[in-house]
């Protein structure tokens, strides 16, 4: 069943078009990779789907409700409860410990302090970083920080995780530890994942790959139709 949908979404930054009418369905529990060359609009699409950016035209619907017309406060609430976000880096609050960082979304949603800490510790354990619960981000490796950020994205048990190049700043093994756990836990919980990446080996974690090219979905699914249609160059 489709949970999240983009319909003919258009977005420009000033005179530069980033998305030229993108339509995409995300089904419940589906892991979908959005790929394509640099500048193809994949991050912009993720930001529109997550309600961080408002499209210039087109619609974003969540469980049949149009959300792109909602107020910033309402979209922000949706991101705190139903969505989780994971970026390349710089997401943890430097002054807080790992456990406090992970507990943060729960505290913002009104969960009691003790309960939030217990849940945070459980999620750190699931991500294999229980040992850094009381460390601050500056005392952790990049891979540990990203696993904490993943725990924080999952702690509210969201319906969709948006991950924008989540392993872009990590070495291969650290990146794999983040992704294998994210995908495994998302599957266990039936959480959908929208994974933006330009790397084939990262896209291979998904059930399905959507290729963008010049701000539109490339229907060959290979990012190659333009060169095919153009014949020999």
């Amino acid at each position: 069943m489709t949970e999240l949908q983009a319909r003919a979404v258009v977005k420009a930054y000033g005179p530069t078009p980033a998305l030229r009418g993108v339509t995409l369905d995300v089904a419940e529990g589906e892991i979908i990779a959005v790929t394509g060359p640099s500048g193809c609009g994949k991050s912009t699409l993720l930001h529109c789907l997550a309600g961080i950016l408002r499209p210039d035209a087109g619609e974003i619907t969540w469980r049949g409700q149009r959300i792109d017309t909602w107020s910033e406060a309402a979209r922000s609430r949706l991101r705190r409860t139903e969505f989780g976000v994971l970026f390349q880096f710089g997401q943890l609050v430097a002054e807080l410990t790992a456990a406090e960082n992970v507990a943060l979304p729960l505290l913002l949603a009104g969960t009691g302090r003790r309960e939030a800490r217990t849940a945070a510790l459980t999620w750190l354990e699931r991500l294999g970083v229980a040992e850094v619960a009381d460390a601050r981000p500056g005392e952790m490796s990049g891979g540990q920080q990203q696993r904490c950020a993943t725990a924080r994205a999952l702690v509210t048990e969201p319906r969709v995780i948006f991950a924008d190049e989540p392993t872009g700043a990590l070495d291969t093994l650290a990146g794999e530890q983040v992704l294998t756990r994210l995908v495994r836990l998302a599957r266990e919980q039936g959480t959908a994942v929208v994974l933006v990446t330009h790397e084939p080996r990262i896209a291979a974690y998904a059930d399905r790959e959507v290729v963008l090219r010049d701000g539109a979905v490339d229907h060959t699914g290979l990012g190659l139709d333009a060169s095919l249609a153009g014949g020999p160059r």
């Binding site: 790397e199 290979l222 190659l224």
Partner: protein, 181 residues
């Protein structure tokens, strides 16, 4: 997998203790979980050659409710040969060759750029599917480390091939012009 030295792999397996042919085959398939399984015929033929060359020796007969089986042990020469092999650095890609590469060259010579491109796209799809299949092994909670290491090896090579397929797709038209100029 091209170029794997089955004799040395068998010597390595015998270094852990005396084994008969069936045990060697089982140990090989367990330790190299995603390799093509070793045929019994190949095990016995290789053991025959290793014995002829004095690298292994028969170490008694065994019978467990079936036919009599010969157990083999590593000899001193066998251990030395194994040690030499383990110390040798493999020449990193001494010849630039491979079916993927050769096929594009031949497609450009014998057919045209569209044929080469169509093949590159089809091959890329097949590579992507295999990459996804092997990646699924990594996210399985029950995957053993043996298997993860084997799968990593395949994924790294598929990933490299995919990058080459992608770059070559962008270059194939220029290349075709050069081949036929």
């Amino acid at each position: 997998m091209a170029g794997v030295s089955t004799p040395h792999v068998l010597l390595g397996l015998l270094a852990t203790g005396t084994k008969h042919g069936y045990e060697l085959k089982r140990a090989h398939d367990a330790r190299l979980p995603r390799a093509r399984p070793l045929a019994f015929g190949q095990v016995y033929a290789t053991l025959g050659r290793l014995q002829r060359d004095g690298l292994v020796a028969a170490a008694g007969q065994e019978r467990e409710g079936g036919p009599e089986r010969t157990a083999y042990a590593l000899t001193g020469d066998g251990r030395a040969a194994l040690d030499r092999w383990l110390s040798e650095v493999e020449p990193p890609m001494p010849y630039v060759a491979g079916t993927l590469f050769a096929k594009v060259v031949v497609a450009l010579l014998a057919a045209d750029v569209d044929r080469a491109r169509a093949w590159l796209i089809a091959q890329r799809r097949a590579h992507t599917e295999r990459l996804r299949e092997l990646t699924a092994v990594k996210t399985s909670p029950t995957a053993a480390l043996d298997e993860l290491v084997a799968v990593d090896f395949a994924i790294a090579h598929l990933d490299a091939d995919l990058r080459w397929l992608h770059t070559t797709l962008d270059r194939v038209a220029d290349w075709h012009r050069e081949v036929h100029s």
